[in-house]
């Protein structure tokens, strides 16, 4: 079982984002970057599949700046076998550009399964996984919450509005991971030390032109601080009054 996991280096969810002077990108100084949380599910799923099969290879692939090596090493510390960094200095915001660069790497890789997180928490595109599947002409299951592998085919469950959708598909395939697919492991200390010795290939890539241009980034308006009207049942009349007259929700 040869599995590719495409991962992304994203700002930590707790980071306070500042918009850069150009108004179209974020100011990365002082920002802590992490492995995209949805990609953690993808990495974990790949590791479990390999462990269950007893053999195979898990390759993590990232497109990004040199610093994304650290993100790849996080996945290697979790247990992936080797990493590939498609090195591009510019921060790529167009998912089709990312997808085409990944496809060039994935096409002749002989992968049985290509895994993604269902979205990257920095741009929320939900797009790169399905685009890669389309370009590779492979079936795609997005936002999978459960996966079962059979001989040459697989079934997956997707949590859709009000129910569960069960899909069957042939392998190889592309699958994007939803929360709940598994419980990602922590990189254990020995894994962190072992990751330093695992192969990590850096391949500079030339990105093709995309069709999407970011014009402006803006922060959401600041929320007003909450107000405590009182405690216990005695506060209820004041709360109802505020909900009626100020919030106008009653």
């Amino acid at each position: 079982m040869k599995i590719a996991v495409c991962i992304k280096r994203v700002p930590d969810t707790e980071t306070r984002i500042k918009i850069a002077a150009d108004g179209r990108s974020i100011d990365e100084s002082g920002v802590k970057f992490v492995l995209n949380p949805y990609d953690e599910y993808a990495v974990e799923e790949a590791l479990r599949r390999k462990e269950a099969a007893g053999s195979g290879e898990v390759v993590v692939i990232a497109l990004g700046p040199d610093a994304a090596q650290e993100t790849i090493r996080t996945a290697l510390a979790m247990g992936a076998d080797r990493g590939v960094l498609l090195q591009a200095d510019a921060r790529v915001l167009d998912p089709s550009v990312i997808a085409r660069a990944l496809v060039a790497e994935l096409r002749d890789g002989g992968y049985d399964l290509v895994l993604f997180g269902k979205l990257a928490i920095d741009d929320y595109h939900h797009a790169v996984g399905p685009m890669v599947a389309e370009l590779l002409r492979l079936p795609c299951v997005s936002a999978a919450a459960r996966l079962e592998l059979g001989d040459g085919k697989a079934t997956a469950e997707r949590e859709v509005e009000g129910g569960v959708e069960v899909v069957e598909f042939p392998l190889p395939a592309v699958l994007t991971a939803d929360k709940g697919l598994n419980e990602p492991r922590y990189p254990a200390l020995k894994g962190i030390m072992a990751a330093k010795k695992k192969p990590l290939e850096v391949k500079p890539v030339t990105l093709e032109a995309g069709g999407l241009e970011v014009l402006e980034l803006a922060l959401p308006p600041e929320r007003k601080p909450g107000r405590i009207l009182g405690e216990g049942p005695g506060a209820v009349p004041a709360l109802i009054r505020a909900l009626r007259t100020e919030a106008k929700v009653l």
Partner: protein, 393 residues
């Protein structure tokens, strides 16, 4: 919300990528597994032993010992960051790991035979065996050389007699490192270390009752009554009171980092409380008296962080001295106690509740202030280093 750390001087840039990765793994685990449950364990007076298998799986025991014995093989800075994060959870959890790594695994590693290392270190690293360290006695704390526990050689091994006090993990442990005199009671050079399985006949452990500090930790008294062990129980390379003191230097090094963790936890709590607690129609963080408290805390934590990093680099170079470790342990634990106390005060009445961390850390740190070389003894160690004059012998 995961812990964000306290880092006013960009100490982050002083750590290598793998050191940060180790810290982040432990930080995340402490947030998820320790913080939510520790207050209850503290109030109940129980050690959360269920954490031990996961600590072993993550590789937290003896993490700075070599990989060939099943350990993580980390450098001392990464090891220190582990201790920092564990003690951010609770001093009891850090103590558990300190004892296992620095006081049980380290002496086997440093003074044991190859056979002893192969036999015990992987089991201790894997958490299959928990260890304790028996040095202190009811009447011999700061003066361990005066101990009266004895080991007498017989035809086929040793017989140990004596009592040990204030032994972390004492009732939990499957194995104890016992220090005893093999010669005359007035000869501290005859002190040797022994690996004693705690199910050996004549070995008993009793939980220390009535603690108001380190409540989420097993502190016990050990009694050894005609405990017979084989020849292979002796740590062959141990010799004199210097051997257990070398172990304590390892543990104290971890404590210097751990104290920073406790202080960081308190500081974060103080800042959060100061910004949200409204009195006289505004957050108390807007009052000068609380700002002075917070400024002092941040300053002292920052100094202690820098002390730790440099001490760790010296230790990795092999040039850290016991006196340098004394300075860091003494300063950082005193600093953390002060930060915990000021946080407790800043929190007002809420500060006395187990729901908040400050008073738990404060009470814990009063023990840490006293154990592993009391604050006062470290003062005298430094006094001796400065003047060349010995104040306590």
């Amino acid at each position: 919300m995961p812990f964000q750390g306290v880092d006013f001087y960009d100490t982050e840039s002083l750590f290598a990528e793998d050191e940060r990765a180790v810290r982040d793994t432990v930080r995340r685990w402490v947030d998820e597994a320790v913080i939510p449950i520790i207050g209850d364990h503290y109030v109940q007076g129980t050690f959360p032993l269920h954490l031990a298998p996961k600590m072993a799986e993550l590789g937290l025991f003896g993490a700075n010992l070599p990989e060939e014995y099943g350990c993580a093989g980390l450098n001392n800075v990464a090891y220190g960051l582990i201790m920092q994060e564990l003690e951010r959870g609770d001093s009891g959890v850090r103590s558990f790991a300190s004892v296992q790594g620095a006081l049980v695994m380290y002496p086997i590693y440093a003074f044991g035979s190859e056979e002893q290392k192969q036999r015990w270190l992987p089991r201790l690293a894997g958490g299959e065996a928990i260890g304790c360290f028996g040095l202190t006695e009811p009447d011999f704390g700061s003066n361990p050389g005066g101990m009266i526990t004895t080991a007498r050689e017989t035809a086929d091994g040793w017989v140990l007699n004596g009592a040990k006090m204030w032994i972390t993990n004492g009732s939990t442990a499957q194995v104890a490192i016992i220090w005893a005199k093999t010669g005359a009671l007035d000869d501290p050079q005859s002190i040797r270390g022994f690996i004693v399985p705690t199910d050996t006949k004549g070995f008993s452990a009793k939980d220390q009752k009535g603690k108001l500090s380190l409540r989420a930790s097993d502190t016990s008294e050990l009694v050894l009554q005609d405990v017979k062990v084989g020849r292979d129980a002796l740590l062959p390379k141990s010799g004199g009171v210097k051997s257990p003191l070398m172990c304590l230097t390892q543990a104290r090094y971890g404590i210097a980092w751990g104290a920073v963790g406790a202080a960081m936890a308190c500081f974060a709590e103080a800042v959060s409380y100061a910004k949200t607690r409204v009195i006289f129609d505004r957050p108390i963080g807007g009052f000068q008296i609380q700002q002075a408290r917070l400024a002092d805390m941040l300053t002292e934590i920052t100094k202690a962080q820098l002390l730790c990093v440099q001490l760790g680099r010296l230790k990795d170079r092999g040039s850290a001295t016991p006196e340098q470790v004394s300075l860091a342990k003494r300063n950082n634990v005193d600093m953390a106690t002060e930060v915990a106390r000021e946080t407790r005060r800043l929190l007002g009445a809420n500060g006395i509740l187990a729901e908040y961390q400050a008073m738990r850390h404060l009470a814990n740190l009063e023990s840490v202030y006293t154990y592993e070389g009391t604050h006062d003894i470290h003062t005298l160690v430094l006094g001796q280093a400065i003047t060349g004059l010995d104040a306590f012998r």
